[in-house]
C-alpha cells in the first residue's frame, strides 16, 4: 500500500511523459489524475493507520549504493511524520491535478504539464519517505528539478525562463550547504542512515573538529550546514528571492510546489532531523532568528504588492518563517501542524487566485480588478474562507496552528523566543491586513477593470471549483480535527519516536498568560478592520499614507532591495568573472594549449605518418626490414648486454 502511494504518481508521470503526445490530452490527464486520487485516498488511510493506530514501519526495497563503507538501501520509512507529509502531499497534489485539467485547458502541452506534476509528486514522496540522507537528497534535487521545469513551463516567456534559472541557482546555494552537511554527517558518523546517525548523535554531541584553526562543534556545524539547505528550499530571508519570481509558473504549480509542498521540505527536513538539531542549541537559536525575521520581513513586502499571486507568495514566505521559528524553539509538532493547515489554506488561496486569473483573461494585477464578487461568488467565498484561515480567525484551521506557534515562542522564555513572538505578532497583524486588502481589491468595491474584461469575467468550471471546495473543507476543519493529536493531549502517542523533543514546550505553551493567547486574535481583527477602512470606507487613504512614508514604502515595495543587492554583489561580478575566464582562461589558455594544441599536434603527427606511405614498394620493403632488424637487435642486445 505504501509502495502504491509512492509509486503510482511515478507510473502516471512516466506514462504521460513518454506516451503523452501519442495518447492524447484526455488520456494523459486520466493516467495522471486517477493514480493521484488513488494515492491520496491511500495516504489518508495511512495517516489513520500509522498515526493514530501506530503502525510504523520501514520497507526496504533494494540496496541502492554499496561502495566501500557507504552502504545505502532504498527504503520507505513511514512513521507519523512521514504519514502526515504523505497525506498533505498526496491530497493537495491530487486536488491540483484535478484543478489543472480545467486551468490548463487552453494549453497545447497538457500531457507534459501533467507528467511534470506527477513526477514532482513522486520526488516529493521520495523525499518524505527517505530513510537516509542520500535518498532525501535524491528527492530534494528531484523536486528542485521539477520546480525548475514547471516554473519555466511556458518557455516562450523570457521572464519565465529567467525565473526558472533564478530558482534553480538560488536553490543550488542552499543545496551546497545541504551537500556539505551530508558529507559532514558521513565524515562524522560513518553512515548516512537516519536511525544509526540519530542513535550516535548523543555521543558525538559536544565533540569538536578543527577547521582553519577554529575549533568547531561538530553537531552544531552540521546542523548549520543542513539548515542552509532548508533555507534555500523554504525561501527563508536571504535565500528567498526566487520564490516571488517563481510565480511565473502556471498557478497550479504555485499552489502545489510553492505553497503546499516543496517549500515546506526545509521545515520537514529540520523536523525529521530533530534528533540532531536538539543537540545543537546554537543552530536552533539561529533558526528562530531567521524564522522570525522572515515572518516579519515577508509580511511587510506583502503589504505593498499589487500582483495577486505575489501577495500570496510573500505570505507563504512569511508563514514559512512561522514554521521555522516554531522549529527553532523546539515546537516541532506545532511546525508540522502549521505546515499541514497552511498547505490547505494556501493551496486554496493560490487556486482561488488562479480561478480569478482564469476568469479575468490572465490578469494578475489587483489594481485592475475589484467588484468581482458578483461575477464569481463561489470563488470569492472560498477565498474568504482561505483568508480567514490564514489570518488565524478563531476556529478556522490557521487559528489552531498559528496560536500554538506563537504561544510556544513566548513559552520558550528566551530572548530570541520573545523576538520571534513579537515579530510573529506583527506579522499576524500584517497578514490579516494584506489578506483583506487582497479580498477587497479583488472582489469588492467598484471595479477598475475595463468593461470588456469585466463583462467577460466568469466563474470557473466545476472541475476547478471542486478541488477548491475540498481544500476549503481542509482550511475550515483540519485545525479543529487535528489539534488534539498534533499539539494536544494525544501528542505523545501520536508522534511517538518520529520527533524528538528534549522538553515538551507544547505543554508549556498551554500555560502561557491569557493575553498571549488573545493577542493574535486581536491583532488579526485589527488588521481586518484596518483593511476595511483603507480599501472600502476611505479608498483615498492608502495613497496619502504611502506619500507620507515614501522612503519606507519604496524600500518595502522594492522588496528591501534584495534583488538589486544580489545583482550588484553576486550576479554582475560573476558575469564579469565568467566572461573573463571564458575568453582568456578557457579560450586562450586551455583551448589553446589543451584541445586545440593537442589536436594540432595530432594532425601534424598524422600528416607525417601518412607521408611515410610513399607508394613505392621498396620503401615498404625497407620499412619492414628495418623494423625486423630493430626487433632482432633489441633482443640480441637484451641477450648479450
Amino acid at each position: 500500500m505504501i509502495e502504491l502511494a509512492v509509486f503510482l504518481p511515478l507510473a502516471g508521470g512516466l506514462i504521460a511523459g513518454i506516451f503523452g503526445v501519442r495518447m492524447g490530452d484526455r488520456a494523459a490527464q486520466l493516467v495522471t489524475v486517477i493514480p493521484m486520487l488513488i494515492a491520496a485516498i491511500l495516504s489518508s488511510y495511512l495517516l489513520w493507520h500509522v498515526g493514530i493506530q501506530g503502525n510504523e514501519r520501514t520497507i526496504e526495497l533494494f540496496t541502492w549504493i554499496d561502495s566501500g563503507t557507504l552502504e545505502l538501501s532504498w527504503a520507505l520509512r513511514v512513521d507519523t511524520l512521514t504519514a502526515v507529509m504523505m497525506f498533505v502531499v498526496n491530497v493537495v497534489s491530487s486536488m491540483v491535478h484535478v484543478y489543472s485539467v480545467g486551468y490548463m485547458s487552453h494549453d497545447p502541452h497538457k500531457p507534459r504539464f501533467m507528467a511534470y506534476l506527477s513526477l514532482f509528486t513522486f520526488f516529493m514522496l521520495a523525499l518524505v519517505t527517505a530513510d537516509n540522507f542520500v535518498q532525501m537528497f535524491f528527492g530534494w534535487e528531484g523536486v528542485g528539478l521539477m520546480s525548475y521545469l514547471l516554473i519555466g513551463f511556458w518557455s516562450g516567456r523570457p521572464s519565465a525562463n529567467a525565473a526558472a534559472i533564478k530558482a534553480f541557482v538560488v536553490n543550488r546555494v542552499g543545496d551546497f550547504g545541504f551537500m556539505l552537511g551530508i558529507f559532514g554527517v558521513f565524515f562524522a558518523f560513518g553512515t548516512l542512515d537516519f536511525d544509526t546517525v540519530f542513535a550516535a548523535v548523543p555521543e558525538v554531541a559536544g565533540r569538536t573538529f578543527s577547521f582553519l584553526s577554529m575549533e568547531l562543534d561538530i553537531v552544531t556545524t552540521l546542523c548549520f550546514l543542513l539548515f542552509i539547505g532548508a533555507m534555500g528550499k523554504s525561501a527563508q530571508i536571504g535565500l528567498h528571492t526566487w520564490l516571488p519570481d517563481a510565480m511565473e509558473g502556471p498557478t497550479p504549480v504555485s499552489a502545489l510546489i510553492h505553497a503546499a509542498t516543496m517549500v515546506t521540505a526545509g521545515v520537514f527536513m529540520v523536523v525529521r532531523l530533530s534528533p540532531m538539531f536538539e543537540f545543537a542549541p546554537i543552530a536552533l537559536t539561529f533558526i528562530v532568528f531567521i524564522g522570525g525575521s522572515t515572518a516579519f520581513f515577508a509580511a511587510t513586502i506583502g503589504l505593498t504588492q499589487f500582483d495577486i499571486k505575489r501577495v500570496i507568495a510573500y505570505s507563504t514566505c512569511s508563514q514559512l518563517g512561522y514554521m521555522f521559528f516554531a522549529v527553532g524553539v523546539g515546537a516541532y509538532p506545532a511546525a508540522i501542524f502549521h505546515l499541514m493547515t497552511h498547505a490547505f489554506f494556501k493551496a486554496l488561496l493560490f487556486l482561488g487566485a488562479g480561478s480569478v486569473i482564469h476568469g479575468m483573461d490572465d490578469e494578475q494585477d489587483m489594481r485592475k480588478m475589484g467588484g468581482l464578487f458578483s461575477k464569481m461568488k463561489v470563488t470569492a467565498s472560498l477565498m474568504w474562507i482561505g483568508s480567514l484561515a490564514l489570518a488565524g480567525v478563531p476556529f478556522f484551521a490557521g487559528f489552531w496552528s498559528k496560536d500554538v506557534i506563537l504561544e510556544s515562542a513566548f513559552a520558550a522564555h528566551t530572548g530570541m523566543g520573545l523576538y520571534a513572538f513579537w515579530a510573529g505578532i506583527a506579522a499576524a497583524l500584517m497578514t490579516a491586513f494584506y489578506s483583506w486588502r487582497l479580498l477587497f481589491l479583488t472582489f469588492h468595491g467598484r471595479t477598475r477593470a475595463d468593461d470588456h474584461t469585466f463583462d467577460h469575467a466568469h466563474e470557473s468550471p466545476p472541475v476547478m471549483i471542486l478541488p477548491l471546495v475540498v481544500l476549503a473543507l481542509g482550511a475550515i476543519f483540519s485545525g479543529w480535527l487535528a489539534a488534539d493529536y498534533f499539539v494536544g493531549h494525544h501528542l505523545d502517542e501520536f508522534w511517538r519516536s518520529s520527533i524528538l523533543m528534549t522538553h515538551n514546550i507544547i505543554e508549556e505553551a498551554h500555560h502561557v498568560p491569557k493575553w498571549v493567547k488573545f493577542l493574535p486574535i486581536v491583532v488579526g481583527a485589527v488588521g481586518i478592520v484596518l483593511a476595511w477602512v483603507m480599501y472600502i470606507a476611505k479608498p483615498g487613504w492608502p495613497a496619502k499614507f504611502v506619500a507620507m512614508v515614501r522612503p519606507i514604502h519604496s524600500f518595502v515595495f522594492n522588496k528591501w532591495f534584495f534583488d538589486e543587492l544580489y545583482d550588484r554583489i553576486f550576479v554582475r561580478p560573476s558575469f564579469v568573472l565568467g566572461r573573463g575566464l571564458w575568453k582568456s582562461g578557457d579560450g586562450a589558455v586551455i583551448d589553446g594549449v589543451g584541445p586545440d594544441g593537442i589536436a594540432a599536434a595530432a594532425k601534424d603527427i598524422a600528416g607525417r605518418a601518412s607521408r611515410m606511405q610513399s607508394g613505392f614498394v621498396y620503401h615498404y620493403a625497407f620499412a619492414m626490414l628495418i623494423g625486423l632488424v630493430l626487433l632482432a637487435s633489441w633482443f640480441l642486445f637484451g641477450f648479450f648486454g
Binding site: Y618, F622, L625, I626, V629, A632, S633, L636, F640
Partner: protein, 204 residues
C-alpha cells in the same frame, strides 16, 4: 674428405659469387645465366650431402624449366633494366647498413650455437638408413604417407597459382582466328569445294 671439402668450398664460393652477379650484372640475360650457374652449384652442394634426388630435381625443374622461362621472358619483354635500377645506388648505403647489421647478428647467433638438448630425440629419423634405400625411394615412401597432408596442400597451392595465372592473363580477344582442330578434321570436301565445269575460254 679433402676432396669433398675442396668441392664444397668450390661450389659454395661459386654459388655466392654467381648470386652476387645475378643482381649486379648489367645485362639481364647475363643475370639469368648467372642464376642458372647458381642453381648448378646448389645442386652440386646437394650432391655433396648425399641428396642426389634434390640435386637432380633442382637441375631439371629450376634450370630446365624456370630459368629457361625467365630467359625467354627477359628476352621477349622490352624492359630497360638499367633504367629500372637507377634508384638502386641511392638506397645502397642504408640497404648495406641493414644487411651488415643483420649479418653481424646472425654471426653472433651462430657463434653461440647451442642446440636444444632434446634435439636428438626429436630427430627420430622417419626414413630407413641410407644404405638400405636410395633417397629417391625414401622420399617417395614418406611423401605419400607421413606428409600426405603437406604434399596435397602444396598441390593446392600450385592449383591456385595456375588459376591465378589464367585469371590475370588469359584474354579472349575478339577477331583472333584460332586453330580449331575439330572443325578442321570434320570438314568435308563437299562443304568447301565446289567443282564446276568451266567451258574453255569463257572464264569463271
Amino acid at each position: 674428405m679433402v676432396i669433398q671439402a675442396l668441392a664444397f668450398y668450390l661450389f659454395a664460393a661459386l654459388a655466392v659469387a654467381s648470386g652476387v652477379m645475378v643482381i649486379s650484372a648489367r645485362n639481364p640475360v647475363h643475370s639469368v645465366l648467372f642464376l642458372i650457374l647458381a642453381f648448378f652449384n646448389a645442386a652440386g652442394l646437394f650432391v655433396l650431402i648425399g641428396a642426389e634426388f634434390l640435386a637432380m630435381i633442382l637441375v631439371v625443374v629450376y634450370v630446365g624449366a624456370v630459368a629457361v622461362l625467365f630467359l625467354f621472358v627477359v628476352m621477349m619483354l622490352d624492359i630497360n633494366f638499367a633504367e629500372l635500377r637507377e634508384g638502386f645506388l641511392q638506397y645502397l648505403p642504408i640497404g648495406a647498413l641493414i644487411g651488415l647489421i643483420l649479418a653481424a647478428e646472425l654471426i653472433l647467433i651462430f657463434g653461440t650455437w647451442i642446440v636444444a638438448p632434446d634435439v636428438g630425440q626429436a630427430l627420430t629419423a622417419p626414413i630407413l638408413p641410407p644404405d638400405q634405400v636410395t633417397n629417391t625411394h625414401a622420399l617417395g615412401r614418406i611423401i605419400y604417407t607421413d606428409y600426405i597432408y603437406l604434399f596435397q596442400a602444396s598441390g593446392l597451392i600450385l592449383l591456385i597459382a595456375m588459376i591465378g595465372a589464367i585469371v590475370l592473363t588469359l584474354r579472349h580477344r575478339p577477331g583472333v582466328r584460332r586453330q580449331k582442330i575439330a572443325d578442321q578434321v570434320s570438314r568435308r570436301p563437299e562443304d568447301v569445294i565446289e567443282v564446276r565445269d568451266v567451258t574453255t575460254g569463257s572464264g569463271v
